[in-house]
Symmetry: C2
């Protein structure tokens, strides 16, 4: 199940994309528009800035802006960063302890295929796909 971390991060990025006018956008504005707790967003965003998905600027006139065009963000990338991973079962997580029963496991193939399906699905959707078409696309980033 996707938690609020991933869902809120998506909403923030979509909001930043839709309200992009070249300037930095204070997270306070995004939080108000999206009706999300500012302080909680501040705890979610660091992973996005550290991975250069957004750029933060301190002080007056500061805020955040996207570092790429909206079509260059896949939902898969965002969810993997904020949720950790999209594995349906713990034994498929990147650094999971190797399962002793893997050789005889009747379900491993099923989980693996579902995992691939999930990644393929979310990697095929970008922030641009999620933006309201009438808004935001008119602006130059």
């Amino acid at each position: 199940m996707i938690s609020t971390r991933g869902r809120y991060a998506l909403r923030v990025l979509i909001d930043l994309a839709e309200h992009n006018d070249g300037k930095y956008i204070p997270m306070k504005d995004v939080a108000e528009r999206q009706d999300l707790p500012l302080k909680y967003l501040e705890r979610i965003l660091p992973v996005l800035t550290k991975n250069k998905l957004i750029v933060g600027l301190h002080g007056k006139g500061g805020g955040y802006r996207l570092s790429r065009t909206p079509d260059a963000y896949t939902v898969g990338e965002i969810l993997r960063l904020t949720e950790g991973n999209l594995a349906p079962v713990s034994c498929l997580e990147q650094d999971a302890a190797p399962c002793a029963r893997a050789a005889e496991c009747r379900t491993l193939e099923m989980w693996t295929k579902f995992y691939e399906m999930t990644n393929t699905y979310f990697d095929g959707i970008t922030i641009a796909d999620l933006m309201q078409s009438e808004v935001g696309n008119d602006y130059i980033i």
Copy 2:
């Protein structure tokens, strides 16, 4: 993420299917074969008996057996019973509070399609599909 509840239930049902010889199989035997804690399994099974996926018999010579042929159990049904639901986000759960932002939600369609994909995938796989073909299919249910 699918928890042990769903994964263990699947393993129990596959084990019952593979070791079916017409008699009731004590859960103690399944727990030993699968290396799962018996007491924990006893807490997971009631939802399967209440929904008539398996039949339990008390006392000596008792245990559990499947109530259908293995090809009549879909993984989707089993996971929905044991995990509650397969919704990727809380707003898609059956009795979720209606979301005030649904009309303007940029991501609802994405989640809904993923939800449908998930259900379709797991509903397309049966216990029979997961059984080791050399074993179990020789027995008559």
